[in-house]
């Protein structure tokens, strides 16, 4: 893989990386929308969902995208036009920046960043800026309320997310996502190395906190106060139409996919299989075909985690604003801090 890429000039490599990034963001987003939003939700509500466009309605998404692209790009009269147009792009860019550090195979990564997890947490917080200024620049009180609610919620749930990741970082001893994958697949529990050491077992509380936090970060129900349609029309997205709404829409599901990928890297062993299965000892031994199989394993794990996120989204009613804040500050953060303490003590003892 690397030998193949080494002969491509630098601009060619960059182009390939950009294409790879587009695929890694848009393909999961499209699959999530079709499989979960269109089909799973419909089946849970005893209906068929889209059936007309393509076999089992599988081309419905293209029809929807085409519809959105044709619509007029409306900017409200009293809105701050430049910032209004900029906001959805900031949200989508933060998703694209996020996928850059996710490893998909032993050599299939965009960049092998030493402070990978930390970087992911940092750029994911940029999308809050986009949401805030979307709410403000719409010149609409519902939008502003939605934007403020979103900002309050995202700040509150970013903390437990960071703290939950800390447990994994302490256990793996590195912030590099690739090395976290290797540490999980070369590790052993109680001398048993048959399934490696996925941190979902030893960091179970961290995993639960992380999943709750990303549910809130993605503003999926039961944490959908910011876009609560019965109170705020559509929150910060109220005034958006046409392709700008489409960008918000893609951003929402693409971020769900990327966060699920990061969760699977941190807790489920990422692209890897336990290295003892094939007698590998380090990441250099890993066979070349893992660069093809690895992304597929990642995709499977991502779909599994997004399935859980969507399952909860379609099952639970919305939390009230004060319950939502209290849950983060008085529930998740103390538990996450306790988790870090216990992990650090056990790390030193063993």
């Amino acid at each position: 893989m690397i030998a193949l890429l080494a002969e491509v000039p630098y601009w060619g490599q960059s182009l390939l990386r950009v294409l790879g990034g587009l695929v890694a963001v848009l393909l999961p987003a499209g699959t999530i929308v079709y499989v979960f939003l269109f089909k799973m939700m419909s089946f849970m509500q005893s209906r068929l969902g889209p059936m007309e466009a393509g076999p089992y309605g599988s081309m419905q998404l293209f029809a929807e995208v085409g519809k959105w692209l044709q619509k007029e790009d409306i900017v409200p009269d009293r809105a701050d036009a430049r910032i209004f147009k900029m906001a959805p792009i900031i949200v989508l860019v933060s998703t694209f920046l996020l996928v850059v550090v996710v490893p998909f195979g032993p050599e299939a990564w965009f960049t092998d960043f030493e402070t990978g997890v930390f970087y992911a947490l940092a750029v994911s917080s940029i999308s809050v800026l986009g949401i805030l200024i979307a709410g403000w620049s719409s010149a609409n009180k519902y939008s502003l309320l939605g934007g403020l609610r979103a900002a309050g919620q995202l700040i509150a749930y970013e903390l437990p997310m960071v703290l939950a990741v800390m447990g994994v970082v302490i256990q793996a001893g590195t912030m590099n996502l690739q090395k976290i994958v290797v540490a999980q697949n070369t590790g052993a529990m109680f001398g048993l190395d048959a399934i490696g050491h996925p941190y979902v077992i030893s960091q179970f509380f961290g995993f639960i906190i992380f999943m709750i936090a990303i549910q809130a970060e993605l503003t999926q129900a039961p944490f959908d106060m910011p876009i609560a349609e019965s109170e705020l029309v559509s929150g910060y997205m109220t005034e958006y139409s046409g392709f700008r709404f489409l960008i918000f829409f893609i951003g929402e599901f693409a971020t769900a996919g990327v966060f699920a990928m990061i969760a699977s890297v941190l807790f489920l062993g990422g692209w890897g299989v336990p290295f003892v299965w094939f007698g590998w000892t380090s990441v250099d031994d890993v066979a070349n075909w893992m660069n093809i199989v690895g992304p597929l394993i990642m995709f499977t794990k991502m779909m599994l985690l997004v399935f859980i996120i969507m399952w909860i989204r379609f099952s639970y009613p919305r939390l009230r604003e004060d319950q939502l804040q209290r849950f983060a500050w008085k529930g998740l953060i103390p538990v996450a801090l306790l988790n870090i303490m216990v992990t650090a003590i056990l790390k030193v003892v063993f």
Partner: protein, 164 residues
């Protein structure tokens, strides 16, 4: 090193332009957004210096937390759309000399302590482990002192905000 110098120049020009817009624009939210550009530029400069941990911290703390709280605060209180006329006050003239004095003092301190010293040709990436070894080794006491200052600030903020 030439590529780094050109990169530094481009980012520095963008930062200076954005910094000027922070003080000249007549809308609070626009000023805050230009400030985001300045802070992101600083993060880019850290990357040029191969200090990726500091760069990521800059993004997480300043863009992800400080600026979001800043925008949150202004939007809750006084953020109208369009130009505002009462943003400039009479201390404007005082601000310029203070800024220039700060620039001179910092420039002097930098040239005085480093002089003609140059960065090594191949800038080594400082690993996060080295940073943490330094913080939790020789710099442990200042780190604790800073933690206490922050804790005091947090407690103070809660005391001020509580009505009862």
């Amino acid at each position: 090193m030439i590529a780094q110098n050109i990169g530094f120049l481009i980012i520095a020009i963008v930062m200076i332009g954005a910094a000027l817009r922070v003080v000249t624009t007549n809308n609070v939210v626009h000023a805050a957004l230009w400030l985001v550009v300045v802070l992101a530029g600083a993060a880019a400069q850290y990357i040029l210096l191969a200090a990726e941990f500091v760069a990521v911290t800059q993004v997480l703390v300043y863009i992800g937390a400080v600026m979001v709280l800043f925008l949150f605060g202004t939007m809750l209180t006084r953020a109208r759309i369009g130009a505002e006329s009462d943003l400039n006050n009479s201390y404007k003239k005082l601000g310029i000399p203070v800024g220039l004095i700060m620039l001179a003092a910092m420039g002097l301190a930098l040239t005085d302590s480093f002089g003609d010293e140059k960065l090594p040709e191949s800038a080594k990436v400082v690993s996060t482990q080295e940073v943490s070894d330094q913080i939790f080794g020789p710099y442990l006491l200042p780190f604790w002192a800073l933690s206490f200052v922050l804790l005091a600030a947090v407690v103070g903020a809660i005391v001020l905000a509580r009505k009862d």
